[in-house]
Symmetry: C2
Subunit: 336 residues, 2 copies
Amino acid sequence: MSRSHPSVAIVGASGAVGTELIACLQQRRFPLRQLRLFASSRSAGRRLAYGGDSLPVEELTEQALIGTEIALFSAGSATSRRFVPPAVRAGTVVIDNSAAYRMDAEVPLVVPEVNADAIAAHRGVIANPNCVAIIAVVPLWPLHQAFGIRRIIAATYQAASGAGAAAMQELRDSTRAALAGEPFSPKVLRHPYAFNLFSHDTAVDPETGANEEEIKVARELRKIMGAPQLRISITCIRVPVLRAHAVALNVEFERAVPADAARALLAQAPGVRVVDDVGANHFPMPVEASGQGDVLVGRIRADASDPSGHSLALFVAGDQLLKGAALNAVQIAERL
Amino acid sequence: MSRSHPSVAIVGASGAVGTELIACLQQRRFPLRQLRLFASSRSAGRRLAYGGDSLPVEELTEQALIGTEIALFSAGSATSRRFVPPAVRAGTVVIDNSAAYRMDAEVPLVVPEVNADAIAAHRGVIANPNCVAIIAVVPLWPLHQAFGIRRIIAATYQAASGAGAAAMQELRDSTRAALAGEPFSPKVLRHPYAFNLFSHDTAVDPETGANEEEIKVARELRKIMGAPQLRISITCIRVPVLRAHAVALNVEFERAVPADAARALLAQAPGVRVVDDVGANHFPMPVEASGQGDVLVGRIRADASDPSGHSLALFVAGDQLLKGAALNAVQIAERL
């Protein structure tokens, strides 16, 4: 490994996203001089595989990142608020997967397929967007550039992974209990998850009726696309799926949009795979999006409720842990 | 049992909806003189419980319904097309749960909370609507009467039960296999179902891109509401839930609609239960809708993408087998 390659750290290395960050760095042969792994005291002392090595998991302290050039944070907003500022002061560039700095005017919020050029303006922190925002914006961006998006109405089908590895395990455990006819008390999520779905369990703003997830997705989509006036309505629902999110999108454009033109554009868009086989009834599915870097897009059709021909309906699915989190962060690191 | 009470038959008695039809007649103490149960030759000869009795399941023939005053059909369109016309000619009134006659101009398509008055015009057949159409129209109707619906954008979260008892079993079996790390080949549905979701697997019209389910729901909503010009866009998705459908609805109205006014109206609407507790993050969920006759409605809020205040967003859940099918049919029978 060349001396000119950066020293990289992963903060939150033992979590669902952290595990994928390690895998992404490895699979993409990210050029690095050294990789250090950090997690909470509960996980510190464990060892995790990287390449042929096994690396120790260290406990994060304010001095621990000194000498690290790039740190990938994915340990929640509280950890980021505490440890990112000293790391940046010490010269580390942080790619932060938490929501802590995403809406900070000085912090670029980046999906490389959309606004990679925003990375250059960073002052030490680059934010990795919310997973639904990433998965939706990858196919929306080429459509926006060509036809100008006015309004988005979205309904999500969000996987357990968005709530972390423990939520994925709770989905498995509660489903196993339901199949056996045994009782199960939710510990990680506040609602029963086996063969059930529920409104995203973040706090709801009593004024607008929107929950925190919906507010994040709408704000972040506007920031990533540089479209502060974009009108967005979104309903975020957690479904009993393990690790890929899906989104039903109804999109109104400035200009008329034939479905075939949209499909042709999406077929050549970076990070997108069109899965829209009407004959075989084959459309985006979470099981097929899982483990894939691309966002799958299908059910591309004229919105039947807009006779002007200015609206489309689409259905998309993307791996929440990969493009929705770890892969996007590593793609940002690659651009640095 | 009084001699004036009707003789009733259930066709498709051993299916998922048939089982619920028997239970609904019993629980609602439907006044009947005799109950006869019919199914395919595969199920004929079995006995099913009704009240304290055990009734034989008979094979349906063209003469079998002679003397039956009310027949509840739930055995698919092919069975209805073959056996409903002779039954009607012999004087039986049929309440048909299949799609065979729903769009027939002479056939009333009835949700009692909405258009019970249409029943009187029947000529022997009354159609029970598609389950998504029923579950959506129960809360939409009072809003339509008060504010005038112009446009509906819907995304569904449909349960296994809509594809029948065998699909429910396939969801259980495939999930059990997935948890055990064993392979599973779908037999009933064409896509993997364990921890997965997929676009409703009915045929897609290559012209419009809509699938048959979406076409049914849109047409039937217009017919039930007597609103032939209503603009509707719907995306129908099958989710790994057992027996209650949910729908995310964005609705545009002729008049401005404050969310509080909509909530107050829905709180007193027949067949609706408002579940909209922002503080407790408690909203409609399939597990709570299952076994309930009411449609649960929550997440009632202004649509953030329509600054005119003419649009609402809602999230609803209803038992697909009860209000979505069996209960609605029995409620129609009660009005006869």
